[in-house]
Amino acid sequence: MTTPDVTTLTPVPAADDAARLARFEAHVAAEEKVEARAWMPEAYRRTLIRQISQHAHSEIVGMLPEGNWITRAPTLRRKAVLMAKVQDEAGHGLYLYSAAETLGVSRAELIDQLLAGTAKYSSIFNYPTPTWADIGAIGWLVDGAAIMNQVALCRCSYGPYARAMVRICREESFHQRQGFEIMLTLSRGAAAQRAMAQDALNRWWWPSLMMFGPSDRDSVHSAQSMRWKIKRVSNDDLRQKFVDATVPQAQFLGLTVPDPDLRLDDATGHYHFGELPWHEFHEVLKGNGPCNRERLAARRAAHDEGAWVRAAALAYSRKQQARQSRAS
């Protein structure tokens, strides 16, 4: 991923533009990847920057709900696993920021947008984690939903993003398994543990389904993104796939999915499920979720408290350079 040459991104005359656009669309339609620095429509670039940076922010903010339990994990094994998982999420954020940087934005700029509250991240991370079962439910459902989404994105037309997704997907599967394992242990445990697992499922089910975004009927960016192969599978198709995969797992755990309308449609082989609580979705998106303020405050504090470390590292490197140039 070389530094994008800003001059190649400046607008070109309209006639040229039409020919380039046609060539670009044919290229993408032929399942060829677009690489950094290649000519691309400005809207393609902007859409990708928005999507990749939102994704990166989600990985970073996503560390907070789980980080809440690292010091209180019930065993040393669980603690080691949870730390490894949260560390992976930090890594995912970094892969994604660097993919976004190939499009000509700087990571500093993107982080500023997150801290200023002008950038979005996945609403799911604005829900609290009051019990240990939440850590199980997050791994099983939230990472499970993320995987559904990310597997589809491995075929994204933008090369650096697709490659980051491949790397991320390789790491994600343990995330989902460790979550399921926590749920399994709790659901085979004492009555209080089973109740805790059920309560976590009750709270995380609908927010997990909402992770796939608005219904195809209301999705603003979908059509263009599908045409440019930025997005490969529609929100509703991914959501259905997730429900079909997850309901049998809940049954295996002996837990009840909190949806009275849920039933297997014999004709289609798919689960029919109830209407999502969209009002809640939009409220959380607007910043009125249970933890929106807390999450941003935590990110801002981390950034501010790390400022002296960043400055000191830079001062040290300058000193080393000065010393070296004096010696030579």
């Binding site: 991923m1 620095r37 000519w39 660097s98 790397r167 960043r310 590292a313 830079l314 490197s317």
Partner: protein, 97 residues
């Protein structure tokens, strides 16, 4: 890329998966100096035994071909099929070629 006083430089990371293989580009990261870039590369790109050796190089030190020159640079090779062994017909029965 210019490095503002508060910004760590961008580095490209290359990892050799195991002895006998080439270093391969895996992504990029920010660091204050090359030493830190190596440490970050280890934490960011080799948490699962992905490598036995790492190279880092500042992104602004890489010279890259211009994508819009790709045709001029690479298409002259298109009509030189005689550079490939499949271009030649070897009679049946001839072995070791």
């Amino acid at each position: 890329m210019s490095t503002t006083p508060h910004d760590w430089a961008l580095y490209e990371v290359f990892v050799r998966a195991r002895a006998g293989l080439d270093h391969k580009h895996v992504g990029s990261l920010h660091a204050a100096d090359p030493q830190m870039a190596l440490q970050h590369a280890r934490d960011t790109y080799t948490r699962r035994q992905e490598g036995v050796s790492i190279w880092v190089v500042r992104s602004d030190q890489i010279s890259a071909s211009d994508p819009s020159d790709a045709d001029a640079l690479f298409s002259p090779a298109d009509d030189k099929v005689y550079r490939h062994p499949t271009f030649y017909t070897i009679p049946e029965g001839v072995e070791g070629l």
